[in-house]
């Protein structure tokens, strides 16, 4: 899950003070141009010279996995691929498409409605819902799937009470089969709707209130104005939210795997472990990549179009219409439902299980927590370091090639963990075999799998997947430091290092901490890449929860799941704070 992508893309950042922002941006731009013409020569001679080439090297390195997967799609058909194409490929495609369609309907229903209610109307509990509706983002889809399975399957409390109350026994009554494609649609919709909610809400708030008022002076009621003005104006933002939710949907492995729904991610996993055929696996991944590419294309296009969809400045009169009586109750229920089913019920059930299975919190669990936290922290540090390099390269050296490199390096957020894992393991395994052969030959020493068999592979995969978040956070911090601040420092006779430590670091601290926190949490939640790339016998919370759930020990999986959810709430709080505060990354 990369919920943070919502906030740290500069184009989706809430524009509470749009005009001020653009003014500032223009000021930055013009001062940049001045700097270029005035001190251009000085700049090129400066010690920052290495940053530009460095950015290009990083971008190329990070895109190797994807390039390899794309490369394999031209490799020709292997027998395994032929077999897949004959048997399961059609099912993978249909299931993936049905899943995407279902989730689209689900997240739009849950997200757009609640966003409109909380931005246009006032009713008891509204201010609470504004941020609480984001809480489901804290729960990874596979964890909510485990929880609802425990609740709703044959032996679960719901069906047991139905049998007790009605006296019917197995097969005599109909009950919703949660472990199915529709079940997966519901699970994913419940945790992914906040993407749509957040972007739609920002769009509704950003719309000039005048747009609705104009429509009313032209004779349309509030309701008609919603359909004819508010929704069409928010359409690009809603589309962006939807594509982000769908990226998560195609990336999902844990839910569909647990529910036995055959999609690309489960197929890739099975082909890799079952057939051991990396070419066929990569080709399957490449097919999934086309889905992702379409989503990225739609997302970029809607963000681009959204620029034209802002209507002048906001007026200060953001007056919400007060609701009373049954209307207020209806609105309350509409907002409470996604919150209850997406967070309160599953979190409560997890808490109950964890409390009744207290024996799980032992030394092994402590080791699990230590493994997960240290790994996540290390990954967050690496992503931050790379992001700082790239962001500074872009700032000092804003050429097309550097900007494109940074853009490519931030594309990983759209890539499913499975694809990245396969793309990482293929070249690393090859490299390892070369190293082993060399070491045997030259040193007479068996060095083992140095790269693909250690956390090194994991760290690379995490960096690729979550770098966009770090870059976004760092850039949003860096944008606040106008070049004139640097120049003021330098013109006062200070050295560059002084400017960096005394101006940049204090101003960047908030954004840097945000970047660390969010990558940390996302690494903690990441399942498929960890599952494929982890060293032998190396367990994390996510992997442990997956293993226990796969063994039908759902209650035993609760402590690990609860820990992930608990930590996952932190970025949600950050997100909700920036909703009310306005700017992301502001301390």
């Amino acid at each position: 899950m990369c919920s943070a992508i919502l906030y740290f893309d500069p184009q989706t950042a809430p524009k509470e003070d749009t005009w001020k922002d653009t003014q500032q941006r223009e000021a930055i731009l013009s001062s940049k141009m001045v700097t270029k013409t005035l001190t251009g020569q000085q700049r090129t001679r400066s010690s920052w010279n290495w940053l530009g080439p460095m950015a290009v090297v990083i971008a190329i390195t990070l895109s190797i996995p994807v390039l390899i997967i794309v490369g394999f799609s031209f490799y020709g058909e292997t027998t395994v691929w032929e077999h897949l194409a004959d048997t399961v490929l059609r099912r993978y495609i249909t299931n993936t498409i049905v899943l995407m369609l279902g989730v689209s309907v689900g997240v739009l229903l849950l997200g757009v409605g609640s966003a409109w209610l909380t931005s246009a109307f006032d009713f008891p509990g509204r201010s609470l819902f504004v941020w609480a509706l984001l809480l489901p983002l804290a729960i990874p889809a596979y964890i909510i799937a485990y929880t609802y399975t425990g609740l709703l399957d044959f032996a679960g409390p719901v069906q047991t009470s139905i049998r007790e109350v009605t006296g019917l026994s197995y097969g005599e009554y109909w009950f919703f089969e949660i472990r199915s494609l529709p079940g997966a649609v519901v699970m994913l919709s419940l945790v992914l709707y906040p993407y749509v909610y957040l972007l739609a809400r920002t769009a509704f708030l950003e719309q000039s209130v005048n747009a609705i008022e104009v429509s009313r002076t032209l004779g349309l009621s509030i309701k008609a104005s919603f359909y004819k003005v508010a929704i069409p104006l928010a359409r690009p933002a809603i589309a962006t939210g939807l594509t982000l939710a769908l990226m998560e949907t195609v990336a999902d492995f844990g839910t569909v795997q647990f529910f036995g729904v055959d999609t690309f991610t489960t197929g890739i996993f099975r082909t890799f472990y079952g057939f051991g055929d990396s070419v066929a696996t990569a080709q399957l991944a490449a097919t999934l990549l086309t889905f992702v590419a379409v989503l990225v294309f739609i997302e970029r296009r809607s963000r681009w179009r959204a620029r034209y969809y802002t209507t002048g400045q906001q007026s200060a009169h953001a007056k919400r219409v007060r609701l009373y009586g049954t209307k207020a109750l209806g609105a309350w229920c509409m907002c409470f439902m996604p919150l209850a089913f997406g967070f309160l019920i599953p979190a409560g059930q997890l808490g109950y299980w964890a409390a009744t299975h207290a024996s799980q919190f032992d030394l092994n669990f402590a080791l699990l927590v230590w493994n997960s936290f240290s790994l996540a922290f290390l990954a967050a540090l690496i992503a931050l370091f790379v992001a700082l390099l790239l962001a500074y390269a872009k700032r000092v050296y804003s050429t097309n090639i550097v900007n494109t490199s940074v853009g490519i390096a931030s594309l990983g957020y759209a890539l499913p963990g499975t694809i990245i894992a396969i793309g990482v393991i293929i070249p690393l395994a090859w490299l390892d075999h070369q190293l082993i052969a060399f070491a045997k030959h030259a040193l007479m020493w068996d060095i083992g799998l140095l790269l693909s068999g250690t956390v090194f592979a994991l760290l690379i995969a995490y960096t690729i997947r979550f770098l966009a978040i770090s870059i976004g956070a760092v850039e949003s911090g860096l944008n606040k430091i106008r070049p004139s601040l640097d120049e003021a420092g330098l013109s006062l006779g200070r050295k560059k290092l002084w400017v960096l430590t005394k101006i940049h670091i204090p101003l960047m601290r908030g954004s840097v901490l945000t970047a660390l926190l969010i990558v940390f949490v996302d690494v903690l939640k990441e399942l498929p890449a960890t599952l494929i790339l982890r060293p032998f016998n190396y367990n994390t919370l996510a992997v442990r929860a997956y293993e226990l759930a796969s063994d039908e020990r759902l209650a035993d999986a609760a402590p690990a799941s609860l820990m992930i959810v608990f930590v996952g709430i932190a970025p949600v709080i950050l997100l909700s704070r920036s909703i009310s505060a306005g700017r992301p990354g502001t301390n």
């Binding site: 104009v214 004779g219 069409p232 034209y308 002048g312 009169h317």
Partner: protein
Amino acid sequence: MPDQNIESLSKTMLSLTDVSIGYGAESVVHNASFTLNAGQIGCLLGPSGCGKSTLLRGIAGFEQIHHGEIRMQSNILSSPLTTVSPELRKIGMVFQDFALFPHLTISENISFGLHRWQNSDRIHRVAQLLHMVGLSELGHRYPHSLSGGEQQRIALARALAPKPKLLLLDEPFSSLDVELRQTLVPEVRQILQQEQISAILVTHDQMEAFAMADQIAVMESGQIHQWDTGYNLYHKPQTRFVADFIGEGEFLQARVIDHLSVDSSLGTLQSAYGHGYNIEDNVEILIRPDDVLHDDDSTLTAKILSKHFRGSHFLYRVMMNNNQRLFCFASSHHNHAIGDEIGVVLDIDHLVMFRRNE
């Protein structure tokens, strides 16, 4: 008599009686009253925060009123008990940021309010309005590709399309540059008159108000100080605020001698009309720059303290022998240096005076 009554009723387009509007306990507009006749253009003029936009939004129906009533012709639009919805008022509005719908073409924007019209009528009306604002060839374009002035004209056309009885304009020129404003203001006035529509404009720019409006309400702190023509606001301000806010001028301390004249630092000044103050009252006299004329032959002289070149004329800040400072207009041929002594003539037609607060 009854005939006259009916006639005056049909002539009144909008009337406000003691209207108060407020957020919560604080009221932003207090006891505002005025009457706008059919075909007239009114204006709410005042510094920012004076409540003019709130009052306009009250007329549009976006703000509820707490006291008084707003009537259009003979129908009540707003009272403390009822508020007719904005969409049912037949009042058009042009917003400060124009608020064109970015997802619709120019033609679609203009026809937005024509949803109950026949298709052919609608097409005809859109073409007519595009022609009227002189942008016939832009119908298929999207708002973001238009310049500020073009967007302004489209916003006007869109508001006029459903033939509202009254048009409200909220600072419609403030986001345009000065040059564009000077060409657009008379153009918009002409369009409004051509459509024979009543309108109310909100602005903080008195030149814009003078150029557009027949009747102007000067507002301050939520109160309407005076509802009058631009000429009267300048020459017959009823409160000291209006005298100070409109145009330039200097207040002179003076004492009333008799029903026509006062004693001031410029000597005895006489008015053409009775002023209605008691003898010995302490008053302030408003002296406009055009009351003090430059005349090289005059024996009365004053020293130039500063000067502003205004193209057709100079506005001099001068000091009389007794240290009294005044503004003085001079034709732009009379270019004098700061510090020069120049001859001045007082040309006071009527005295504008206010009771002095001790």
